[in-house]
Amino acid sequence: MNLAIIGCGGIGRMHAEMAARCGLKIVACADKDPDAAKALARRYNALATTDADGAIRRPDVDIVLVTTPTPRHAGVVIDAAKAGKHIFCEKPFASTVQQGRTAIAAVKKARVKLFVGHVVRYFHEFETLRAQIQAGKIGEPGYVKMYRGGIYPGGPSSWFRDYAQSGGVTFDCMIHDLDWLRYMFGEPDRIFCQALRRSEPEKLDYSQVTLKMRNGMLALVIGTWAHPAGFQVKVEVCGSAGMLQFDSNISSLSAMKREVKGAGPTMIVPSSAEDVSPYELEWRDFIGWIEGKHEPRVTPEDALRAVEIALAALKSADTGRPVEL
């Protein structure tokens, strides 16, 4: 099957490699920045273009990868659905619930498959946590704390630095944890959030989200784009008969490079030494679904719900009140 990539930035490049490893052929790389398109296209002998719609509509394209900035996701998904292509879209699925609903309607109408990259469901450490919980190792879970983040992503002019586009750490980053909580423990009933979202003297975001789950469980999710460096993920699950803890800083491989001064990282994804990348596992799941082998771990409705929950958190932060879901 052939792939067109729309958005050739940090995560677009990473997905290109994962898709290629799964046997997909990258035929077109589209980006509004011609240099970004060219750089990626060269690596895979693909067409470089600034015309996203043209790339989507090429007859030899089976799958469209949507790795543009978030506000553009739903639009590209709709275009790809209309062109009859299957779609792999990065999270957050859409910037608003309405956008997400419209995109799902377009996908349903076109009878194409849409997969949204809630990759945390595929992380080995999270899968291990899940297995331990399901094996009853800690009894009944009653309280979960999740922590994710590090330095503020993107260069000075990046869309990440515009809260209106990225939604800050709450929407862009913590949506991973909000999705995983729902995946594991069901629907949240009520959500409360404080989010820093500072721009002066510099961009700093720090978000604290409390969730009361329908089953009586509590969760605290903390996201940081306020650290001077680094990236860390921590999870703690407390149960009636034990506790699980994971900390990405306790790692079997660590390395530190002296970076050139004055430049922030362009893309932040957690990485460990592992046999198969969770990003590749996403692609295997998606491709298997297209081939009719199984149902995917993430449904479009899951992705929409994650958007809804993350937006409810931001609404709580804006109003200073809890939001009922």
């Binding site: 879970p141 009653g142 820093l196």
Partner: protein
């Protein structure tokens, strides 16, 4: 040399304070009173003090100060009686389970012209002292946010009985961190939102075992706090006090009791964290004794205890109403 007595060993911290009193050359641990005579007699024997079973007799003793370690709801009565008898008081935290009690205790001690201290030993934990020094110095600029935890194990006993404890993990494990943040930032708490759960120890506790607090301080700093009895029996230590400070010029993390050596002993058959850090209780008790000698207020006063109690009480109000609650209008 100040003569000190301990009133009630209901709270296990009394045993640590007793050992501290005996370790301090400037104090004399004279007497114990307890409404459970067996417990009091055994404790008195352990520390070489005299057990006095009648409260009036105990209060008639020539004591300069008392440390009160009763069940939370009894703090008010004992503090009032001790103050009326002219004793300085160091009261275990939480100072009180409601605001009226805390006010009454402060008033009673003022009237009797005795000092009232709240047992906030975190102020004497070196990692928190250093964090305070560095933040107060301005090195990190303004504090924008803090994420805190005070996790512990299930204490059981009267802690889990609302009528004696006044509440569960939220009552037990909110005040330390509230006091530390007030002490470090010099600011008061303005608002609180609270969710609490009781899944972890539902079978044995009637109270909450986890409280998740979201707070706002004067000046707008956003704070989250976990007050829990969530550490399982297999956990290598009792729990923690941690704070992540998000500041204008950087991030500062304190894990106050994580100065440790990891011990793996086949005799225990579980990992153990053995502390190499200082003993904050010793600093607390020494400060109380010196406050008596120097006739000055203890490091953390009754007012500090009241302020922390106000936050806890507002948290429980929020839990009931489901809304954000203003702390002290």
């Amino acid at each position: 040399m100040p003569k000190i007595g301990i009133m009630s060993f209901a709270h296990m911290h009394a045993y640590s304070y007793g050992a501290c009193l005996n370790a301090l050359p400037e104090a004399e641990f004279v007497a114990v009173w307890d409404d459970k005579p067996r417990r009091g007699r055994a404790a008195a024997r352990q520390f070489g003090a005299t057990f006095v079973s009648k409260l009036e007799k105990f209060l008639d003793l020539d004591l300069d100060g008392v440390i009160i370690c009763s069940e939370n709801v009894k703090h008010r009565e004992m503090t009032t009686l001790a103050a009326q008898a002219g004793k300085w008081v160091l009261c275990e935290k939480p100072l009180a389970t409601n605001v009226a009690d805390a006010h009454a205790m402060i008033k009673a001690c003022e009237k009797a012209k005795v000092g009232l201290g709240t047992a906030f030993p975190c102020r004497f934990a070196a990692p928190l002292r250093v964090a305070r020094d560095r933040i107060v110095s301005g090195e990190f600029g303004a504090v924008y946010a803090a994420a805190c935890t005070n996790n512990g194990s299930n204490p059981g006993g009267w802690f889990a009985e609302d009528m004696l404890s006044g509440g569960g993990a939220t009552m037990d494990h909110t005040v330390h961190v509230v006091d530390v943040l007030r002490w470090i930032t010099g600011k008061e708490f303005r608002k609180v939102y609270c969710e609490a759960g009781n899944v972890l120890h539902r079978d044995t506790l009637e109270t909450d075992d986890v409280g998740l607090l979201q707070l706002e301080m004067e000046g707008g700093a956003q704070v989250s706090h976990v007050a829990s009895w969530s550490r399982p029996k297999s956990f290598p230590t009792w729990g923690d006090v941690t704070i992540e400070f998000i500041c204008e010029k950087g991030v500062l993390n304190v894990d106050a009791f994580n100065q440790r050596v990891d011990v793996y002993s086949d005799a225990a058959m579980k990992a153990e964290w053995v502390s190499w850090g200082g003993n904050p209780d010793l600093g607390l008790v020494r400060d109380f004794v010196r406050a008596i000698m120097e006739k000055r207020p203890p490091c953390a006063t009754g007012l500090d205890g009241l302020r922390a109690t106000e936050v806890t009480v507002a948290a429980y109000e929020s839990l009931k109403s489901g809304n954000v609650v203003k702390i002290r209008a």
